[in-house]
Subunit: 377 residues, 2 copies
């Protein structure tokens, strides 16, 4: 495993001495991480709002990894991020020279935060560069691309995970526990809604099929699929789906809203809804002797949960992305569980493709052959 | 309008004097109602668990109507009810001599609580007997039967309502208000789940297609349909549906579980699930600026409600059936709103038939042409 290079750290210190004091520039955690041999360097690829608002701040709160580099096509962003996070010029790349990251010992993990259609390309290039990979969700825009990413990571012998922050999130883990331990008996039904009302710039990449590979389903719908699976503890055996369109002038070539129904091996039924036209954010699992519910279930938190027996589910809030990235760093460093492996992202993309196929075929049921693909516990 | 006949009341009193004292036999309300010229006499047709557990006790708590007669095919039930509720022999009928109820001045309203397949026959006979009619939900087992009931009531110039107790229930009315007044802005999504886990006698009439006309959908599904409509304030324009079966040995000829999706004129989407294999009981309406939720949403109460702004919806509990029957009695006596007219029951049966049609056609979308049929406000 790559460890932080002491020489690099010293160089940073020296730079600091000549200018503004290091203490005022570097948050405590970031500084501590650089002393800690067990902290891995993360490079963010793509500096959009998620990197800016969640991942970079999240990397100031992690214990086992830290922000070490950036990859951006916008020189002005390189400049401002370099200042804000004290990133050396040698740890800054653009999309053309990105592959040179292979020789950069400061970078252990590459986190691909680009539009969906660019995930496969950059994840594969990162793997070829010998870096561990976090691929933001959805993993790619096709199952074939997921396979290519997994193969590239296997070939390069690097670790791969999908940006499923909720797999490390305590409310979500508590729901998983309640399902797994049958706290309320047998599960019969799981319902998950995930969506928001998109009214912004119609030219955003999420509404551009070439970049997103799909609309609500490829964005919030992936959360609903994830919720239905961890809210039931099972991979579905079939899916049927319906599409709804009321603002075609805004949603020019991506799906506005989709409902889908799952059958599970136990006989439980799943019912999901995702939308770019409705603010919904819920998970509900119904068992023989009670239910558990999260609402919100998939925003950045804090989440909120309750149970049919009146118990409130409550955990101290920690930034989900910090928990997620730390879990992946621990997986690399110690061999602990990879909570969101590539196979999980691929499984969800198989479901996404089946949902689109069902819609194309007017809602017929599509059989899924997922077996134990991915981690459902 | 028929009023309570003083002679009948006196006769009851006289009977009481000769035996056990009236005061010990008649609850206060029942006694008061008989003094009150504005209280209408109700005859229950069918003395199953709903009549026994809800309607008869409910009629002890009503102000504008009271239990005046019974219709049963079981002599032992006639005997025990007669004693328990002090019902004169002349107000007791069986299914053969039921039509003689026409000449009984004590009976103003006939409430048909028989298995679904018998609703049309007895509602039509009640109308022909000149009695106002409450038809338990679902109104019948086909739209054609609903039409026949409505026509019979119109012809006889009697009032008709469907046993939609929640249309008079305060939590439900509060959801309707929130929708109508756009407290949280535009509605985008409504979700309703209604079901229970049926594990009892497999020979019960609800699981017998000839008597029920359908399974989960014809039982709890009607609540989910109602919820989707009053939770959106609109009649749907289309529906698609899917059926799920995991215990065919138990659900021999009725549907076990069904999901259905609605399109509404405003562009909102509805998503319902009903089951005889899962305990679910929820209504959720999502608006641009918040949401409102009932859980439970359709049991006998007390219901429980909350809003996205943290406000808890709370009302004193009153028996829903008492509120429902009083509302119908007031409608007859004063011309106030009929909260659940026959057209509403017919509308819901049109939707039920469309859901079964969609399932038969592998989930294709079925257009509905409901217009303003029934009351949606």
């Amino acid at each position: 495993m790559n460890k932080i290079n002491r020489r690099e750290f010293n160089k940073t210190l020296v730079k600091g001495v000549g200018g503004i004091s290091i203490a005022s520039q570097l948050p405590f955690h970031s500084l501590r991480n650089r002393f800690d041999k067990k902290s891995l360097g993360v490079a963010l690829v793509g500096l959009g709002s998620y990197s800016r608002g969640q991942l970079a701040p999240g990397l100031l709160e992690t214990e086992h990894c830290h922000l070490a580099g950036i990859v951006t096509g916008t020189p002005a962003k390189a400049e401002s991020w370099s200042k804000k996070y004290n990133i050396d010029k040698e740890n800054i790349y653009n999309y053309e020279n990105f592959d040179q990251i292979a020789s950069n010992k400061n970078i252990d993990i590459v986190y691909v935060v680009l539009p969906n259609a660019m995930h496969a390309d950059f994840c594969i290039r990162a793997a070829k560069a010998g870096k561990h990979v976090i691929c933001e969700k959805p993993m790619a825009i096709s199952v074939a691309e997921c396979d290519a990413i997994i193969a590239a990571c296997n070939k390069a012998n690097v670790k791969l995970s999908v940006g499923y922050r909720l797999q490390s999130e305590p409310y979500t883990l508590e729901v998983k526990r309640i399902v797994r331990e049958k706290v309320f008996g047998e599960l019969r039904y799981v319902s998950a809604d995930a969506g928001y009302n998109s009214r912004g710039n119609p030219d955003q990449w999420r509404l551009n099929y070439a970049l997103s590979g799909g609309g609500a389903l490829m964005n919030m719908g992936v959360y609903a699929i994830q919720s239905a699976i961890y809210g039931s503890g099972q991979n579905p055996t079939s899916v049927s789906a319906q599409e709804f369109s009321t603002r075609p002038e805004y949603f020019k070539d991506t799906d506005e809203a989709i409902a889908a129904q799952f059958e599970f091996p136990s006989g439980a039924v799943g019912n999901i809804f995702t939308s770019h036209n409705a603010n919904v954010n819920r998970l509900y699992s119904a068992f023989d002797k009670g239910w558990v519910e999260l609402n919100p279930a998939n925003n950045y938190g804090p989440l909120s949960g309750r149970r049919s027996d009146g118990e409130i589910i409550k955990f101290p809030h920690k930034r989900q992305q910090s928990l997620q990235m730390d879990d992946f760093a621990k997986h690399i460093l110690t061999g602990s569980l990879n909570r969101a492996p590539g196979e999980m992202g691929k499984r969800d993309m198989i479901i996404v493709e089946a949902i689109y196929e069902s819609i194309k075929k007017n809602g017929v049921k599509i059989d899924l052959n997922l077996g134990r693909l991915g981690i459902v516990e």
